[in-house]
């Protein structure tokens, strides 16, 4: 089948082809069907307008924020670095802490510490 496609593709691209091979391909039903498919695809592509519709272009332009030329790419690159750094730190933090305590990294900072005293406010249960 690859041989069929090669011959037909070369033919449609205007290249020289081996006439005997082409005759052999066109002698088969698969070869003729393949040629028909190639021609149908090419016609569809030619009929399609390559330019975006003017209304789409207008909507896209209205949604864009004006920015100074020359700063767009560096700003995007810097933002990407920051996002990656944040996500990386978050990812590492989540996976490090998950082994210790699911749902939170570490105990909250305490504002008071109270100590139980045995036989005062700490007792054996009978």
């Amino acid at each position: 089948m690859n041989d069929v496609f090669e011959v037909l593709s070369a033919l449609l691209d205007g290249e020289d082809v081996d006439i005997e091979r082409l005759m052999g391909v066109l002698a088969t039903a698969d070869g003729r069907d393949a040629l028909a498919d190639f021609l149908r695809t090419r016609q569809v592509v030619r009929a399609d307008d390559a330019d975006p519709h003017p209304e789409f272009v207008a909507r896209l332009r209205s949604s864009l924020v004006p920015r100074r030329p020359g700063l767009v790419r560096p700003a995007l690159a810097a933002a990407a670095v920051l996002v990656l750094a944040f996500l990386g730190g978050w990812w590492m933090g989540v996976h490090r802490d998950a082994a210790r305590a699911p749902g939170a990294a570490s105990p909250p900072a305490v504002t008071r510490t109270l100590t139980f005293e045995r036989n005062v406010d700490w007792h054996d249960v009978p």
Partner: protein, 333 residues
């Protein structure tokens, strides 16, 4: 609301040297607290569902006194059938209980009362005493128990009656529907850099008790036994008008010595508990440090015929420290 001033009662308590922990003098902040005191008679029956029969209620502030009464059985009858109620005169009932209550102090989960109770059978006082108690909220304290022999149980089959007293802080309507959430941590440190932290969440309505549990911190011993520190507990919290939260925190610790290799392991354990009351501001966290372990337990490890291996908890867990950290918050919609 009990209206009698009980200065005399407080003076008498001081004069007799009776004390109720550190709560003998009502704190100023507690003077507005209203406590609901209940005297309840419950019974068992051979022919009817068991449960509580009658309840008498009094609302008191610290320093006030009141009387609660319940009764069971008709006068002249041996059984407890009929005549069950609250507040009736003792001479109208076969058995009647009356308790004169003085509310000495009122803080969360620690309500100090002096109870003078009497039981009247056919109008005659037959039992009773005066005692001072510190009552935990939502806990009933037994005062008296009455058993009825089989021939005297009557048509209702009442076999016994018990009389209990309880005291709970009455919640103001504006705060009664408050939901309190608790973020709770158990942190166990071995003193050599080892640290086992675990977080859990609990919640409860205003003034009600929330329970929490943590997974055991376990160490295998070369003998084949395991030892484990298990921590659980209870928290009762109450939002105040000023936005602070009053908490009674009661952690419990169980030091357990087990043989894990057998299906239903024998175990030796000692349980300890304590309670602390603390006021917490919004967003604040409090650490509660548990005392060092003490005591020992013995268990044959692996071979039931072998002599028991005795674990000295103080030596085994020397330098270890277990803490509970609690951060309460008020749930908002």
């Amino acid at each position: 609301m009990g209206s009698k001033a009980v200065v005399a009662g407080l003076v008498a308590a001081a004069a007799t040297g009776l004390s109720i922990g550190a709560a003998q003098v009502p704190p100023a902040s507690a003077s507005r607290t209203v406590v609901t005191v209940r005297l309840r008679v419950s019974g068992t029956s051979t022919v009817a569902p068991s449960g509580w029969w009658a309840e008498s209620v009094e609302h008191l502030r610290a320093g006030e006194s009141g009387r609660v009464s319940v009764n069971a059985g008709k006068i002249g009858a041996q059984s407890l059938c009929g005549g069950i109620g609250a507040g009736a005169s003792s001479s109208d009932a076969a058995h009647a209980w009356t308790a004169d209550i003085v509310l000495i102090s009122a803080s969360i989960d620690r309500i100090g009362v002096r109870v003078s109770w009497r039981r009247f059978d056919g109008g005659a006082a037959v039992a009773g005493d005066t005692r001072e108690l510190v009552l935990a909220e939502q806990t009933r304290y037994p005062l008296d128990f009455l058993s009825v022999s089989e021939p005297d149980r009557g048509g209702c089959g009442a076999a016994s009656a018990s009389v209990e007293i309880s005291a709970d802080v009455a919640e103001p309507a504006s705060l009664a529907e408050t939901i309190l959430d608790y973020e709770i941590w158990r942190v166990h440190e071995d003193g050599r850099g080892g640290r086992w932290s675990e977080r859990t969440l609990a919640s409860a309505r205003q003034g009600e008790q929330a329970e929490f549990w943590f997974t055991p911190v376990t160490w295998p011993l070369p003998s084949g036994c395991d030892v484990a520190v298990k921590v659980s507990g209870e928290i009762r919290g109450r939002l105040r008008d000023d936005g602070t939260i009053e908490m009674a925190v009661s952690p419990s610790r169980r030091l357990e010595h087990t043989v894990p290799a057998i299906r239903f392991p024998d175990r030796r354990a000692g349980s300890e508990t304590g309670k602390k009351v603390v006021d917490v501001g919004p967003g604040q966290s409090v650490r509660f440090v548990l005392p060092s372990a003490t005591g020992s337990s013995g268990l044959p490890c692996g071979d039931p015929q072998a002599p028991a291996l005795r674990v000295d908890w103080a030596a085994l867990l020397a330098n270890h420290q277990t803490s509970i950290i609690v951060r309460p918050s008020v749930r908002r919609q």
